[in-house]
Amino acid sequence: MNLKIQIEDGNSKSIVRLSGEIDVYTAPKLKDALLPLTKRQGTILEVDLELVNYMDSTGLGVFVNALKLSKENRCNLILVNLQDTVLRLFQITGLHEIMDLNSTIRGVEE
């Protein structure tokens, strides 16, 4: 399986749309795309995981790395539209408590 990475690069906000699987094979590619974006001070970095149907712990490692860097650089990292299986991984590892996750951003009605 593969991972597609689409970057919408804005001045104050960048959106990274991912689709496919994040595992030990695709994680390096994600790392290369994501980490440079976390170094932009005062920006928002939104990662859309709606089309990610599988992620393993190596993928989590990339987000842990991104989180640390974004904190150092005061960039605001947000993960949105997590599928249940992916969300579960963040919950088991306790990372959901320290990361900005929004899994219900899709619908406007609330």
Binding site: V24, K31, Y54, D56, S57, T58, L60, G61, V62, V64, N65, L67, K68, L69, T85, I92, T93, G94, L95, E97, I98
Partner: protein, 336 residues
Amino acid sequence: MGTNDLDARSYTDLLKGYIETRDERALYGAEQISKSFIKNNISPEEIVNMHIQALLEIYPELTDKIQPTMNFLLEAMMAYGLAHQEYQLLREKQLRIRSEIEVAAGMQSMLLQSEVPKMDELDIGVISVPANQMNGDYHHFVKGKDGTISIAIADIIGKGIPAALSMSMIKYAMDSFPENEMSTNTILASLNRVVERNVDPSMFITMFYAQYNPDTGKFYYSSAGHEPGFFYSDKTKSFKEFEAKGLVLGVNPDTTYMQSELDIEKGDMVILLTDGVTECRKGDVFIERDEVLEVIKTYMHLPAQDIVNHVYRYFEKIQNFQLRDDFTLIILKKVV
């Protein structure tokens, strides 16, 4: 005569033979000699040179016209020759690296060996199988002087050699803790500080840490973001997931952990695992945690070591004997 000259001689003879007979057998000979060229590290430009020499011998009269084209071909082959040399060097290097990794993997498993404690009350079964040469899963047993046993099961995220080094670090940190004087949550908090200071930013560790006191039958546990294990109660004949929450080790230096406790009675069972067990796949389908339990149920009447062996064989088989992730399963059965 060196191998080169030998090859050159037979090359000329083969070529001659082929020109005369146009026979398949001579072509087969060329195929064979090509293998011998590779074996003897003969570069492409040397082969072209051999061809030139053979032509000189066979068709002295054609030489004037052919020779310049052959010299041209010779130059055109030069880069291939260099590429071939590089390939040879890389191959040697790779063999050397592989043997070094084997030595390191051997050292790792020796350093990290943890003997399963023997005790009358608990029947303990353990299996841990790496997907690659180095195991990113780790487990550790310590039996204290008062009979308490401590059990750690961990998954180091960030595979390969850095993970293995980090694991040794954890082991030595754990060995340096005062025996049984610390609760499971303080142990995780201490390890968290060790890991946070030392690892690379994408690496983290999930760990489940437990202590069992055979005198009181109490089982204490804490989790640092580890895949939850299961508790089987013989009284209710039901499985329950361990409810233990906590952040993985190595992300935030100030993390604190909670300790929970449980009374273990005769016939009860504790199942600890890593995500290599629950992330097995059948083709493209992932194994649900329930399926893991179903397999365990099938074998739970057996001694603990037999259960873990059977469960491993089951999942190894459905993954076509190709583990995607390291696989560690620990089962504790209270038998008295």
